[in-house]
């Protein structure tokens, strides 16, 4: 535990206690109080003695569990700091119950060099959420020559993706998968075959036809899912599939897992809570890539979570300034905010709506993504992180979230911590809220408010 001595813990009070809640432990959900000293959980139970002077976090009627981990966050810094910065994105993450996020590489400059990755990790280290980096697979995300994957892996980068677009050339994808396999890091794909997508800005179907918007078929995603599964199976490489959105993709992954291919998959809350019927308004706040799909695809995503085909909820948090979203639909950039609404949406749709357990919610929002991102164990790399996604236990670093399943709140884009306000859920009443978030023993969110 030498890592606990680093300067990162300066913000944590000496002692805090979380009292009155139900805690997700290795034995499941149990009623317990817990004490955290110098960032570590030191006592857990119903009979713990609260140390004098401890900062007390009330958790009555709430659930205490490991902080969430987002596999897919666009923090926009460097390059688009008007839409989001690492600091504001990390604050939004903390308010959403996240203690770690993986920053996507489609920044400007692209996260394809050690120099830029170090800068992002440096800024992340002082923010209210641990920031890991997904490095680009190819230089400039151009899909041509491989980025310095080994050099970035030495900085602790565990996921590599050209997210924002898929690697179009099958030969480049195969070489990158193979190279990643040798380094023990994970190749993650944004599945979209550009030639099949043919410039479509919405899902091809009823609504693209009615609205006269260029559509992209589900097969544009599924073709690349199938290609990558074949390549990963052949090479024995580890593959992670980003933001799956179609029934065919879910079925392909389901079969691949049965066949023993080393694949994991994520899906975004908007793909299991919204359909392309929302496009009727031509409001570009509903423009996202992959696009919103019809109900049967939405249901397939939910089924994919229910049977474990989809491993993780990932936000694809994509802030955009108002002026870029106030454009004609086909000209506006794709993407929507997600960090602060992901928990409530997952709770509503998968727990209340699809009968998933709270333990399963923590599996898809914390344990599984932490494992996929390699954030489940402490890192000894120069830009190390603390372990995330572990059941609450004495001796663990206190990366925790306290959720209130009974609370309701109303989404208001302008009140969200993100600099941008492009939430597709404006005005919607949400069930379930984040009450506290604790990062390495520091309450970064207290009673639903960011503390710094």
């Amino acid at each position: 535990m030498t890592i606990i001595q680093t300067a990162r813990y300066d913000m944590a009070p000496d002692t805090i206690a979380i009292v009155g809640g139900v805690v997700l432990t290795e034995e499941g959900l149990v009623r317990a109080d817990l004490v955290i000293e110098h960032g570590l959980i030191t006592a857990l139970g119903t009979d713990v003695v609260l140390p004098e002077g401890a900062t007390v976090l009330e958790a009555k009627d709430c659930i205490v569990g490991p902080g969430f981990v987002d596999l897919h966050t666009h923090l926009r810094e460097p390059g688009k700091e008007q839409a989001e910065t690492i600091a504001t994105g990390a604050r939004a993450a903390a308010l959403g119950g996240y203690t770690a996020v993986v920053a996507m590489p489609n920044t400007d400059p692209v996260l394809d060099s050690a120099f830029v990755v170090r800068a992002v990790l440096d800024l992340g280290a002082v923010s209210t959420c641990e920031v890991a980096v997904a490095g680009a697979i190819t230089v400039g995300r151009k899909g041509e020559s491989l980025a310095p994957i080994a050099e970035l892996a030495k900085l602790g980068v565990q996921l590599f993706t050209d997210d924002g677009s898929g690697v179009q050339h099958g030969g480049v994808a195969r070489r990158a998968l193979d190279y990643c396999r040798g380094l023990g890091v994970t190749y993650a794909e944004h599945c979209e075959d550009n030639a099949i997508a043919a410039g479509g800005v919405v899902h091809e179907g009823e609504w693209s036809a009615k609205l006269g918007l260029p559509g992209q078929p589900a097969s544009a995603e599924e073709a690349m899912v199938a290609r990558d599964l074949l390549l990963a199976g052949e090479l024995g490489a580890r593959l992670h599939l980003l933001h799956l959105s179609t029934s065919g993709s879910v079925e392909l992954v389901r079969q691949a897992k049965h066949a023993g291919i080393n694949v994991t998959a994520e899906a975004a809350p908007h793909h299991f809570t919204l359909t392309d019927a929302a496009l009727e308004s031509y409001d570009a706040v509903f423009k996202v890539n992959p696009p919103l799909r019809p109900e049967h695809h939405v249901q397939a995503i939910i089924d994919g979570f229910a049977d474990g085909t989809i491993d993780a909820v990932a936000t694809d948090h994509a802030p955009h300034t108002p002026e870029t979203k106030d454009l004609p639909f086909d000209e506006a950039p794709p993407g929507m905010l997600g960090l602060e609404t992901a928990f409530s949406l997952t709770f509503e749709r998968l727990v209340l709506g699809a009968k998933m357990s709270i333990e399963q919610l923590f599996a898809v929002m914390s344990m599984n993504p932490a494992r996929i991102a390699g954030l489940d164990a402490a890192s000894s790399r120069p830009y190390g992180h603390t372990p995330h996604g572990k059941p609450v236990a004495v001796g663990n670093v206190a990366n925790l979230v306290v959720i209130d399943p009974e609370a309701t709140w109303t989404v208001e884009g302008s009140s969200l911590a993100s600099l941008a306000a492009n939430t597709p859920y404006e005005g919607r009443t949400m069930h379930g809220a984040i009450r506290h978030t604790v990062l390495r023993g520091e309450p970064v969110v207290l009673e639903g408010k960011a503390t710094r």
């Binding site: 036809a209 009615k210 260029p214 409001d283 106030d326 004609p328 086909d330």
Partner: protein
């Protein structure tokens, strides 16, 4: 309170369409007078805002507005701040600040006029064609033109027929349906009026979901000719990617163009329309374009009366007093 808009044929419904067609008949009479102007929209300001080049639609709308005595502001995108990077929203806000009553918008992006209607407080928005989506005034003037022709065949006043003449009629829309805003507006208008609509195109030029539009879908034009009451011929939208959807213009022409031979296969009394601009020799043969059964020039003439009706109904709510009191 937001003013009424015309963004889609769906904004009107059958009764609304018939109302436009009937009011347009009255304006068509005005057009036959020596003094073609009526004071119906005196004091109103109408702006045309065309982000895509167009000759006939813009001229048609501006002529219509002027015949109703409205003041017309014509914003040319080429010479405006749009070229300097101003957003659609800001351009609209600027026009709004000039105090206008209606704005007529053409834009290459589907949905732009609907977005404009959300961004503007108290201005009627008229869609003059948005991307692949709709071109409602074209759909209306096409319906007006064929109703007039059919009424003429029976020697009855079109106004007295309402939507009757469309009942049971078989209308074939042929060509690049996928990239055509006219196809969507015509389909909605003709269906609302009670006609049976057949969409005819190669599979790659049909919107993927059009089989669920309550229309028949076919790839065989020749099989339709004997039963069609109207063939609406659409251009191949090369600038919107239509050209890549067929192997060659030659092949498109062979199966989907209205040729002289196909004119011969039409049943008696059948008509042909084309929203223009025509590409003679591609989707329509010269002989067909110049055939009296082809209504293309009548469509252009009628465009003014129909657009007068649209402007009049949107901006006055349709009280007939001002119309009847028009100049002689």
């Amino acid at each position: 309170m937001n003013k009424p808009h015309l963004l889609s044929i769906n904004d009107l419904g059958r009764d609304g369409i018939v109302e436009v067609l009937n009011v347009a008949e009255s304006f068509a009479e005005v057009e036959r007078r020596t003094m073609k102007k009526v004071p119906a929209l005196k004091g109103k300001v109408v702006a045309t805002l065309f982000f895509e080049e167009s000759t006939r639609t813009r001229l048609s709308f501006e002529t219509a507005a002027k015949r109703l005595s409205a003041d017309v502001l014509s914003l040319s995108v080429a010479s405006s701040s749009v070229k300097k990077g101003e957003s659609l929203k800001d351009t609209l806000k600027t026009i709004e600040a000039l105090g206008i009553d209606a704005v007529i918008i053409r834009h290459r992006s589907s949905g732009a006029p609907l977005q404009a209607s959300r961004w503007l407080e108290d201005i009627s928005v008229i869609n003059a064609g948005d991307g692949w989506h709709e071109h409602p005034s074209q759909g209306l003037l096409d319906a007006f033109t064929v109703r007039q022709a059919w009424a003429g065949d029976l020697n009855v006043d079109p106004k007295e027929t309402g939507a009757e003449l469309f009942e049971g009629k078989r209308i074939v829309i042929v060509g690049d349906i996928a990239h055509s805003r006219v196809a969507r507006s015509e389909t909605l208008a003709y269906k609302a009026l009670g006609a049976d609509v057949v969409l005819c195109a190669p599979a790659t030029l049909l919107p993927k979901d059009s089989v669920n539009w309550g229309v028949e879908v076919t790839h065989d034009l020749d099989a339709e000719l004997g039963s069609a009451d109207l063939v609406s011929v659409l251009r191949l939208q090369a600038e919107r990617g239509g050209g890549e959807c067929v192997p060659s213009l030659r092949e498109f022409n062979a199966d989907f163009a209205m040729t002289e031979k196909r004119m011969g296969a039409l049943k008696a009394g059948a008509r042909v329309t084309h929203p223009g601009p025509m590409v003679r020799g591609v989707e329509i043969a010269s002989e067909v374009a110049d055939d009296p059964r082809c209504l293309v020039t009548t469509q252009v003439t009628n465009g003014v009366a129909v657009r007068m009706a649209v402007l009049y109904l949107l901006l006055t709510g349709g009280g007939t007093q001002e119309l009847e009191g028009g100049g002689k």
